[in-house]
Structures are given as C-alpha cells and as structure tokens.
C-alpha cells in the first residue's frame, strides 16, 4: 500500500507545517504581554471555540483513536455501555467546578492548579504537596503519551521508502550508543521527530500555541471520524447488516503453532506477520513473523490466530491465495468468556480472552460511568483550561459545543468500528493497528486512497494535543509553583522566560529518554496516573471551592488520602494477581474507593482540626 503511506507522509509534513505556523502566530500574539501568565495560561483570554476544542482535544488522547477502536473491534457493542459515561463528561467536568474555580483563581492570581490551592489557603505546604503529587503522577502520563506519539507515527509511516531510509541511517548511527540502541530504529526515528515537533512549538508559542493547535486538531479529529463513519456504513451495506453479521460471529482462538512448507527451501524464508493460511482444518493468521531456516521445512513456534466464525472462514477461503504453507497447531486458547457463543459481540458483558466474567462485568460498567465524568473533572490538565476562559458566557457555550462534539465523535466511533469488525477479520493479532488499517482499507476500497492521510491524522492529532498540554502542566508546576512561588518571587521576566523554556525542553527530553525503552507496564501506568490524579485533586478542589469550613490541613489530608488509597489498592492488586493492576474491591473500579478515601480524610480533618481562618472565608465566600 505504498500510495497510502506516501499520503500519510505528506499529510504528516503538511500537518506539522501548520502546527509550526500556528506557534509562530501565537508567539506574535503574545508580544507585549506579561510572560508567565501568557506562556502558561494564555493571559486568561480564550473564547468559546478555543476553550471548547482545547478541552475536547486534550481529553481525547491517543486512547480515543487507537485504544478505543481496538477495544470496540475486540469486544463489540458492549463498548457503547463502557463509554456511556461520556454523555455527561462535558457538563460534569466543566460545569461542576468551572465558574467557581476560575473566580477563585483570579482572586489568587493563580496560573496553576497547585497555586489555586496554595492561594485559597494561603499555605505554602498545600501548594508544595499539590505540586509534588502533580509532577509525580503527570510524569507517568507524559511518558505514555510520548510513547503513543512515536508508535502512531511509526504505524503511519511504516511502508514509506523515505522513512525506511531514515530508519536505516539512524539505526546504524545509534547502534553503539548505550540505552538508545535498545530502541527499535523505526520507533526511535518517530519518537524523535514527534518529540522535537511538540517541544519546539510548545516552547515557541506557549499555552496559546497549544490551544490554537488543539483547535485545529479537534477539527481534524471530527472530520476524520465523520468521513470514516460514512465510508464504513456504505461498504458494510448499512448498520443493520453489520449488526446482524456481528451477531453471528464467535471469538477467534489465540494459539501457538509452527509454519510448515511442503518443500525444503535452499535459503532462509520469512513469512510476514499477518499472513493468512487456509487449510482443511481451519483458517489461520500469523500473529508474528515466522522464519523457516535454509534446508528446513518448519519454523520455530510462533503465535497464531484461528478464525472460528463460519461466514468469515468461507469468505477468507475464497480470498486467500493458495500456497505451500501449512500451520501445525501446538496449542489453542479459546476466549475465557464467549468462546463458541454467537451473540457475544452484540450483548454485554462482551467476549474477553482472559477474563472469565467477560469484558464488562456489571460492577465495571457502574465504575466506568462514575470514572469518565468525575475522572475528567479531576484532571489538572482540564482544570488548567478552566482557569483560562475569559468570562462565564464562554464556559456555558463551551459546554454546549463539547457536549455535541463528544456525542458525534464517540457514537460515530462505536458504529464505525463495529462495522470494522465485520469488514476486516483477524485484527486481534495487533488490535492497535485497527484504526490506521481500517482507514487504509475503506479509502482504498472506495477508490480514494489519498483520503487515508486525513483519516490517520486524527489519532496523531489526538496524541499531539494531549502531549502538549501535559508538557506545559509539568513545566508550569516547576517554574511557577516551585521556582517563582517558593524560591525567587522577584525573578525578572527575562529569567522566567529562560527558565520556562529550559524546563519545558528538559522535561520533554527526560520523557523521551525514559520512553526509548518504555517499561513493560506502561499501559497500566497510564491507568494508574489517570486515576491517581483525579483521586488526588478532585475532592480537595471541590471542597476548597464550595465548603466554607475547608482548611489547608484538610486539603492536604484529602490529597494524601486519595493518593494513599490509590497506592494501597495498586499494591494490593500487585500482591493478589502479580500484575501492576489495582485491586477491584467488591468488583468496583479503585477510583470510587479513592474518592471515598479522599473525602473521608478531608472531612475528618475538618471536623477534628482547627477552624478555617475567618479572613480566608471572608475573602473567598
């Protein structure tokens, strides 16, 4: 599919050019304004579209366009219920605290979330605890998003000749550099390109550039999703047809087997990952590359996928070219839930390869309906956006815009990738490729391969819009909350400008260095960081804004209470399952227990601790 890859490269180049252009314009717009306020908060001047789209784009990270489609593909219609909590995300995450948070931040002249808490209680200790926890959790998040950026780009450019040349050059140039040489060269190239692009435009344009690029990225995502929905429905023959065929499907079986050839080869023979092999006892797809050494007839054991749905088997047999290859099955692992059952893709809890309760047990469904809206409300990167709007009218109209935006995006994604499950079998071997591969398939089949570039730009835009925001949140925590508030309150603007740029670059560089060899449990770390941030900040912030009796001590207790509950359940889960996953007490997501822990710690401290300062109550209430 070379034409598609060329398109992806051209799209990426054009896209990056526009991003830099916006950064230059943002830099010009910032001229003459107080630096720190402009760099970290855009001088609190954003209107409806800027606030709405930066909020929407920051929330819709790479997970929405890579992980979510992969899950829909793997588990079917149950993902509609899984994501259902998003129906109230805009109202809850923006309306619950937006107006009051913005007002209190203005009263404290606060530019960051820790600074709001610090100013609300006139307490350095509160600010320092908040800053420390924010940096701790946020850094994990930043790592994950940088990794996602590198991965998505390498997926998009995989077949581009120019890219492959760059990969071989970088691969040979770095083969003797410790730590760096452990990364795959293609991932390394993409990570470097992605990181340099993001860091440069964030440093040059600051928060204003981040918001303006978010607006563009938000539009790209919307256009991409709508186009893909139309193409998918057209090619599958309507949604009814897709759902009926989905209802007849049974989950495939993962396994291990060896690839045999009927004739010994004189030279080594590689059989690519994704190769289809049809034989009398079934249709198989290789989940990893198999190599048959010279003079042998059999490969080492490799991972395979066996298709079990009758109609798919018939279709695939007619399409697969006859070959001399055969699969000798060593082991097959049916799904823990849903194996051999028709209808599992169109009902809850959905099929699952490893969980005997299915993908979405009822307790999990409850948990996610709580987690999405309240988890979003507790994210500091969202709270920062609530500090930046210029008036309450902007907030109200942004809630309207984001509500409609999310409705379109998420419902369209569900329908599109249920169609993908029908149109494109065997993606279980690499579910994260579902989105780019499906974009390629529907555009090529429709005779418009150039359109693939627009579609695959959507996940890239999503990751970029999240990375830039998180980068700025971490930088602001260091420059504003630690240096300016605790070390040198009289620092000159020139020094703050230099420091802000240096910190943004250093934080970005450190993140890149870490994700050259990402830890095994990185995906779990994302979940850990997301839940941890919301558990740490939501309850203390809500009580600080609305409860007169709230004190600085109680805010610290709430932050630590949420964090410790989160850490405790994570450690318990690790001890219980031997995996980096929190323990789900009573089958509920740990986030619910974290919130309870945080609330209990805050309220108890208020009730038994010193009374709130009258001057603070008078100032803020």
């Amino acid at each position: 599919m070379p034409e598609t890859s060329n398109t992806a490269l051209i799209t990426f180049a054009g896209y990056t050019f526009v991003v830099f252009l916006l950064a230059v314009l943002a830099n010009r717009a910032a001229k003459g304004k107080e630096f720190v306020g402009e760099y970290f908060l855009g001088s609190r001047s954003f209107g409806v579209w800027a606030l709405a789209l930066t909020f929407a784009a920051t929330n819709a990270s790479g997970g929405s366009f890579m992980g979510f489609p992969a899950r829909i593909y793997t588990h079917g219609w149950t993902l509609a219920l899984w994501i259902g909590g998003y129906m109230v995300v805009p109202l809850v995450s923006m309306g619950l605290i937006g107006k009051r948070l913005n007002q209190v931040a203005r009263k404290c002249d606060a530019l960051t979330v820790p600074e709001v808490l610090r100013g609300r209680f006139r307490s350095s200790r509160v600010g320092l605890v908040a800053t420390s926890l924010l940096i701790f959790f946020m850094f994990f998040y930043l790592l994950a998003q940088f990794k996602a950026g590198g991965k998505i780009l390498s997926t998009l450019l995989a077949n581009e000749p120019l890219f492959q040349s760059a990969v071989s050059v970088v691969g040979s140039a770095t083969e003797n550099i410790p730590w760096v040489n452990q990364a795959d060269p293609d991932y390394l190239v993409c990570l470097l390109v992605f990181s340099v692009a993001v860091i440069v435009y964030v440093v040059y344009g600051g928060f204003r550039a981040v918001v303006w690029t978010d607006v563009m990225q938000g539009i790209v995502m919307l256009v991409g999703v709508i186009l893909m929905l139309g193409l998918a429905l057209w090619q599958v023959g309507g949604l009814s047809n897709a759902t009926r065929r989905l209802a007849e499907m049974t989950p495939p079986e993962n396994g291990v087997g060896v690839v045999r050839t009927t004739s010994a080869t004189g030279s080594e023979r590689s059989i690519a990952k994704g190769t289809w092999i049809a034989q009398s006892d079934g249709v198989f797809r290789l989940a990893e590359e198999a190599t048959i050494e010279a003079g042998k007839q059999e490969s080492e054991a490799v991972k395979i996928l066996k298709i079990t749905t009758e109609q798919e088997i018939v279709q695939l047999r007619s399409k697969i070219e006859p070959s001399d290859l055969r699969v000798r099955v060593r082991r097959l692992d049916p799904y823990e839930y849903g194996a051999g059952q028709k209808g599992v893709y169109v009902s809850n809890p959905g099929p699952d390869p490893t969980n005997s309760l299915g993908f979405l047990a009822f307790g999990t469904a409850i948990s996610f309906f709580v987690f999405w809206p309240f988890g979003a409300a507790g994210q500091p990167s969202n709270m920062v956006r609530l500090l930046s709007f210029k008036d309450t009218r902007t907030l109200r109209y942004s809630i309207v815009s984001v509500s409609i935006y999310y409705g379109v995006i998420y419902l369209a994604l569900i329908v599109t990738f249920c169609c993908a499950r029908v149109l494109m079998p065997g993606m279980e071997i690499d579910p994260d490729r579902t989105m780019p591969d499906f974009a390629t398939k529907v555009t090529v089949d429709a005779g418009v391969p150039w359109l693939a570039g627009v579609l695959v730009a959507a996940p890239f835009a999503a990751v970029m819009s999240s990375v830039d925001s998180f980068l700025l949140v971490v930088s602001s925590a260091v420059v504003r909350d630690i240096y300016q508030n605790e070390i040198n309150g009289r620092a000159s603007e020139k020094r703050l400008r230099l420091l802000s740029h240096v910190v943004t670059i250093v934080v970005g560089f450190l993140a890149v260095l870490f994700v050259l060899n990402p830890p095994t449990y990185l995906q779990d770390l994302i979940v850990f960081a997301t839940g941890g941030l919301a558990a740490c900040f939501l309850i203390p912030m809500v009580l600080s804004l609305y409860w007169r009796r709230m004190t600085g001590e109680a805010a610290i207790a709430g932050m630590l209470g949420g964090t410790l509950t989160h850490l405790g359940l994570t450690c318990w889960g690790y001890a219980w399952k031997g995996e980096f996953q929190p323990y789900e007490f009573l089958g509920l997501n740990p986030f619910i227990w974290d919130l309870l822990g945080s609330t209990l710690a805050s309220v108890t401290t208020v009730l038994i601790g010193p009374r709130a300062s009258k001057s603070l109550v008078d100032k803020f209430f």
């Binding site: 009051r100 002249d109 006139r122 759902t243 209808g343 309450t392 109200r396 309150g489 609305y546 100032k619």
Partner: protein
C-alpha cells in the same frame, strides 16, 4: 439564562453551588437510566438480538437515546440555567477601597510583591 451583575464571591459561590447540585442530579438520572436499562435488557441475551435503527435495542434505548437526551439537557442547562457573573477579581473589590475584612485593599504592583506579602503572612502565622 439569567444574568447577574452581582460579582461578589457569595453570589458566584451560591449560583455555582446550586448548579453543582443540579449537575450531580443530571448525572444521577443518566446513570440510573443507562446502567439500569442495560442491566435489565443488555446482559447475557439468550434470544435472537432485537435491532432498533440497525443497532442492538439495548444499545439504542440504553445508551444512544440517553446520550442524545443528556446532550440536549446539557445544552439547555448551560444556555438557560447557568448564571453569568463578572469573574474578574478587580470587579469583586468593594468600591470604597477596603477589602472584606476592613483592611485597605492594595493592588499588588507585581507578582513578586504579592507573593512576598503572602509569604510574610505565612511567616506571621
């Protein structure tokens, strides 16, 4: 939407708090509808799946319909029920130049000055 020219902390706090409880109520209603409906009609279906507008009926009535209604309610709430207020802290300062505890209200000339005042207050405490 009602517009209030009252920019005092108390007015914004009161209206924000009222909106806070309404938002929680709307979330609760969506939760009850979606989780309740899907639990009864969407789990472990034995019979042939019923379709509505091409999707499983439980997904249409349990997720898509409440999602549509939640979007409409969110828009209605934001446009008509949330109050507008001036947010600028300057606007909240009383006209007589005194702050709410009777001290002369002094606008800080720079961030550093403001922070040093805060620091000295912390030190005093």
């Amino acid at each position: 939407m009602s517009e209030s020219s009252d920019s005092s902390s108390d007015a914004i706090h009161s209206s924000s708090l009222r909106e806070f409880w309404w938002i929680l109520l709307i979330w609760g209603a969506c939760f009850a509808w979606t989780i309740g409906y899907c639990r009864v009609f969407g789990y472990e279906l034995d019979e042939p799946i019923a379709l509505t507008f091409g999707m499983p009926s439980w997904a249409f009535w349990g997720v898509f319909v409440p999602w549509g209604i939640a979007t409409i309610v969110s828009c209605w709430f934001a446009l008509t029920q949330m109050q507008d207020h001036p947010l600028d802290s300057d606007a909240t300062a009383p006209a007589n130049g005194k702050d709410s505890i009777g001290q002369p209200s002094v606008a800080p000339t720079s961030k550093g000055q403001d922070l040093n005042e805060v620091r000295s207050e912390i030190g005093d405490a």
